[in-house]
């Protein structure tokens, strides 16, 4: 693997770009591993990277049914922020944000992390009260978040319509300046490249069909389309498909999988400086470095594994975008797509051990787990390596749905993230 550097760039510019090696080999599965990770999204690939780098565990395979990064990682709108309400969430997302800041250097791969700020609009009295509560809670947790007047919000994001008679009047906004976006594919690729360089096998086009348990009940390995692969430990990080895989191990999950859609416009010159979210109307937007407006909506109402959603939702989202940003009413949209997001009853993730020995799960990130990628991957690797949770993911147990110790961000935000 070639290290990326200014020197390598110049050298390859002079030798006709012939000096680059492949980023990661297309591995064939071995008969046995110490750890098998199911799902090569950002979370699974990241966990493999941290297992190898921080815990010295390199006899690891990441097994992916399609192509790496082709799940929600490659379909998401890349909003990164950490201004969640509860202490548990603030710690987890802020841990991720800390890792995001050094990620390009750590991976020697440009993940294009951009701290352009995330602005959350308040449209009614309830929004104002709830966001101000968030701002205060965040400050107590050392998470940056500030309250802006409509005029200050407009100054931060000039395309915003703050007129008093707007369909969705802007009464103020919460701004997290440290928040922003990153390039989704690069995150998957960067982690894959780094994990593979440390000896991890990344096996693509190989669906895991079931988890096999031995006579004692402990995990023995995974059944796949290419045969049985033995493993001492299995970590399921399969987003929308987690229920199906865990079911095969006899663990029923508190999850429902919904379609979540996004779309992009034709590319235009830079005109939109930050990320804007409007939870009340379920629409959010940013501009990619290519110039496309990247627009996301809320989930469709029904569960589905189709990776598609309905047009009524897109219509609703675009209607809201046109009201809030009248300058975009004549913008043409290029593509829309959907992912399958796994949603928990309290809208917080499940990350930790399971009732099955040797089986770990990382799921329930729903509509907002891209921002958590480095943090989830880092704490998942820790949990698998040490067979006990890191203190940051310790509250995010599966058992909380039995004990009632929920982390109820659903009630706190009542929306997509």
């Amino acid at each position: 693997m070639t290290r990326f550097s200014a020197f390598a760039l110049v050298k390859n510019a002079l030798n006709g770009q012939t000096g680059w090696s492949e980023q990661w080999p297309d591995a064939q599965p071995k008969a046995e591993y110490d750890v098998v990770i199911v799902g090569a999204g950002g979370h699974g690939l990241g966990a493999a990277h941290y297992l190898a780098k921080e815990h010295g565990i390199t006899n690891v395979a990441v097994i992916e049914k399609g192509w790496l990064g082709g799940g929600n990682t490659g379909r998401n709108t890349t909003i990164i922020r950490s201004n969640y309400l509860y202490d548990e969430s603030a710690r987890l997302y802020d841990h991720a944000l800390d890792l995001w800041e050094g990620l390009s250097q750590e991976l020697n791969y440009n993940v294009m992390f951009s701290r352009r700020g995330v602005l959350m609009l308040a449209h009614n009295v309830h929004d104002v009260q709830s966001f101000q509560r968030h701002v205060h809670a965040n400050r107590l947790n050392g998470v940056d978040n500030t309250w802006l007047t409509p005029e200050q919000a407009k100054e931060y994001c000039p395309p915003l319509n703050i007129s008093k008679d707007a369909r969705y009047p802007v009464l103020g906004a919460a701004l997290q300046k440290r928040a922003g976006t990153a390039r989704h594919d690069a995150v998957a690729w960067g982690y894959a490249r780094s994990a593979a360089a440390r000896g991890v096998d990344i096996v693509q086009n190989c669906p895991v069909t079931a988890i096999r348990r031995g006579p004692s009940g402990a995990v023995e390995g995974v059944e796949t389309a290419r045969g049985f692969i033995r493993a001492r430990k299995v970590a399921v990080s399969a987003a929308g498909h987690t229920s199906v895989i865990m079911d095969s191990a006899g663990v029923r999950m508190p999850l429902e999988s919904f379609p979540l859609q996004a779309l992009v416009s034709e590319p235009v010159k830079p005109c939109f400086p930050c990320v804007v979210m409007s939870n009340a109307v379920h629409a959010y937007m940013s501009q990619s470095d290519k110039g496309e407006l990247v627009i996301g909506s809320g989930t469709d109402q029904y569960t589905s594994y189709s990776q598609r959603g309905g047009l009524p939702l897109i219509e609703h989202t675009l209607a809201a975008i046109c009201e809030i940003f009248p300058i975009f009413t004549r913008m043409r949209m290029l593509r829309k797509w959907g992912g399958t997001v796994d949603v928990t009853p309290d809208r917080s993730a499940i990350l930790g051990k399971t009732p099955v020995e040797g089986l770990y799960v990382n799921c329930g990130w729903g509509t907002g787990g891209f921002k958590a990628t480095p943090g989830a991957a880092h704490t998942l690797a820790w949990t698998v390596a040490k067979d006990e949770p890191h203190r940051i993911n310790a509250p995010f147990t599966l058992d909380r749905f039995r004990t009632g110790r929920l982390i109820d961000e659903a009630a706190a935000a009542a929306v997509a993230h």
Binding site: M253, L255, Y302, R402
Partner: protein, 99 residues
């Protein structure tokens, strides 16, 4: 967009007339004090989240406003059949679906 048949109005109508209401045939325990924490968790939070034929509740909010049940394939999103709330859970064969 889904096309859903309301068993009461006896019409196939666009999804926008309906509201989804979650998995069907989940009965609330008659005496919540008598159930264990595990059973209460299963009732409140655990869902089958089927990849394939899913038994679910819908409400014809912009029509007759009544609840009914549907069986929908969650891979193709095709509604395989609908039936009145309170009716027994039909098999796929009952709905004329080949397995």
């Amino acid at each position: 967009m889904l096309l859903i048949h309301c068993p009461y109005c006896d019409e196939s109508l666009p999804e926008m007339e309906f509201a989804y209401a979650g998995e069907a045939h989940i009965a609330r325990p008659v005496d919540p004090n008598a159930v264990s924490d595990d059973e209460w968790r299963d009732h409140l939070f655990v869902r089958s989240n089927v990849r394939g034929p899913h038994y679910e509740r819908w409400r014809h909010v912009h029509g007759c406003a009544r609840f009914f049940n549907a069986v929908r394939d969650t891979v193709s999103d095709r509604v395989l059949g609908t039936y009145a709330a309170g009716a027994p859970r039909p098999s796929l064969a009952d709905l004329g679906v080949e397995e």
